[in-house]
Amino acid sequence: MATVAEIRVPTGRRAEIALLAIAVMIAVLARGLVDYHADFLELDTLGLYAAGAIVLAGVAHMVVRRYAPSADTVLLPAVFALNGIGLAMIRRIDFAYAERGRETSFGQIQLGWAVLGLAVMIVVLLVVRDHRVLRRYTYTAGVLGLIGLLLPLVPGLGTEINGARIWISLFGRSVQPGEFAKIALVIFFAGYLVTNRDTLALAGPKFLGMRFPRPRDMGPLVLVWLASMLVQIYERDLGTSLLFFGIFLSMLYVATERLSWVVVGLGMFVAGAAFAGTVFAHVHSRYEAWLHALDPAVYSSGTSEQLVRGLFGMASGGLLGTGLGEGRPDLVPYAESDFIVASLGEELGLTGLMAVLTLYVILVQRSMRTAIGVRDGFGKLLAAGLGFSLALQVFIVVGGVTRVIPLTGLTTPFLAYGGSSMLANWIIVGLILRVSDQARRPALEVV
């Protein structure tokens, strides 16, 4: 008589508690330092903050333990730590602005978004009990994603901020629909590619020692390329454009295992970007600001001023940083959002910035591990796509601030001020947790 019994294997949930405790400690200590240096340290308030953080971490842990018991144990603590560091830095920038007579409460608002983000993640875990359900909504997600991506182009709805038209105005608030479109499109790509991967992997003509796809299968690639070019030229944002195209290309590669797709795709993107750079003045000026940022003529024209001020800030931080509350991050425009990385570099130094980047590496590598571990193709593509989207977004933002690539208007996940980004990235965490629960769930054995 055969019975099916579940074997209890250690899931590492206790380790998660320990890691969460460290993350909460980082968040509370960072905020304490910020308050101390601003002569604003009230132990009651800090205690309340600490208690709140402990409760939130506890709730998150309990929900995961109950609804995704085998899920990855490192993801949540890493995200908590990033959130804690971001909140402390934004609060610190509030103090810096206040000192110059500009009253802001970015820190308070961001705290609200972080709590809401955590709640949304819990909802995702509760609603999506199995990630494979999402495959049913492949084309719905595709349509939603495309609409979200192109929504800012709708006259009267889209708003332009800092030259990039990637916002829409909704109930008097600015929303970045691209952040949500990103998730929808990853779901769409995963569903579409897992179905069509065999066709797309078919061998075409051989050229330069590499087997290329058949021209008739190039349709989807061309379509996504056109959409991303549209975004670059009309939404004036290389970042969003690069992000979507990069996500698609990486998932296409994972699905087909054909490097030739990447070669063709990258070639198309570079050609398109170079074309846009020569034809459209606004795209051209972005490239100029990147390549000749310190050139006095470019600097005084104002196009590279923000970038260069960010560089000055990071340089003044040096290896160890000025210390939280000791630098002048407020000298860089948008220190709390687009340039939060420069703010962190200034006050926490290269050391602190490396630590933050390492947290992202951990986050992404755990997603990739999830993708390898999960058994269904859709899950693999979903986890790899979401993980890579995080990695690419960080690369585009931090790369822009550190002059690796031209500066763009994307947000740094979990760190930068902004509600859309916060909610969207917490949804991503929820989805990766969900897939990782499947990936790590012990196989049912027949006894």
């Binding site: 994972v254 000055f312 290269l350 550190t402």
Partner: protein
Amino acid sequence: MNEPIRRLSVVVLVMFLVLMGAASYIQVINANELNADGRNVRTLYREYGTFRGPFVVDGDTIVASKSVDDSFNYQRTYTDGALYAAATGYYSIVFGRSGLEQSENSLLNGSDDALFWNRLGDLFAGREQEGASVEMTLDSTLQKVASEQLGDQRGAVVALDPTTGEILAMVTSPTYDPTLLAGHNSVEVNKKYQELLNDENRPLINRAIAGDTYPPGSVFKLVVAAAALESGYTPETSLYAPQELKLPGTSNTMSNYQNEKCDTTDTTTLKDALRVSCNTAFANLGMSLGWEVIERKAKEFGWTDQIDIPLSVAASRLPEDPDDAQTAMASIGQYDDRATPLQMAMVTAAIANHGQLMTPYLVKTVRAPDLRVVQQNEPTEYSQPMTAADAQSLTDMMVEVVDNGSGRAAAIDGVKVAGKTGTAETGDGSAPDNWFVGFAPADNPTIAVAVLVENGGAQGDAGKEATGGIVAAPIAKAVMEAALAKNGNS
């Protein structure tokens, strides 16, 4: 699909390594260059955010940093700002620094190597970095007297202690109050600066040491006299002194003040030539000595040297290869001769100090915040342009100038005063520049002073008759009197 996912995670890793490399380049490798960039206001803010040391004159703090509640943390405040502006300069968030605020900057802001141990102490004690205090050689009484005497005339006064080289007074007129430029409202500061910049009397230049150099006129005869004494002349040596001297190789002639004869005959003595400031006698003397002799002597007194006191002093100039006619003109301090008031004070001080010229300096002591002496400036010899005997002869001749010559207005009851007047043509048709240099008491000098009043001073262009003896000598007298009163000699 696992293999491409593995490769993708390697790509991710490389992407982050690139970011880390870029951050390392900015924050470590390229950091110094970025921090030194002139467009980097952070460096400025950091400096303005530290406690800057005070300036001290006669034991009183005249410039201080006060804690204020704005983004700069400290406000520089100047007491009697206009009185000391020539020395202190300004400290502005918009226009940077000038004067001692500039030259002593690293000591004032505490970043100087000499303050390393203090910085280390501050670091360990968790204190903010503090700058050192700078004590000046200036004498507040002399400074005030000189400033009041000049009034709103354009000119300068420099007084030296001839035995040490300490600068006891350095006044330029008109001047400005550095308080105007020390504000933290950049629009306001900019407006004030433009006003000062557009003022036709140019209050921002320091006439005592920089900006313009002036034709020294007859005070340069002291240098020619020193060269003559060295060449074997005595105060009694006869000199050819016609009423009008034809300048060789030209159709021009040179005359004396108000076209007078220097003596009853066409000859006079070196002593009398100096006493009445006889142009034709000195022009002849210069031509017989030869320009090289005068040039060498002038250089020993400091001409053509660029010196720092530690403020940068404009080099006084001499003509290059003058012909006979030009030598004649240059021997009475005209043609291409140029001097700063400080240079003339140095000549006077060297004669007063038995022929030994002491290096002039403005900073006496620099003290760390804990009052430890970081820098103590001791008197040093600059040069020995004259022998003690020649210096004594020239002193006696200069006493005659004040007692019975062109410098009577500088005479002080009961004290022997040595001096020399100068009235220099500026060559542009305006009233001459008026000089007086002198020292007292003549047999044991405690002060040497040089006074310059531009273009006839208060009398302006109407005062074509203005001379150093009328316009400048009384100012020098007042400064010397004040110094003697202080030393109990009068």
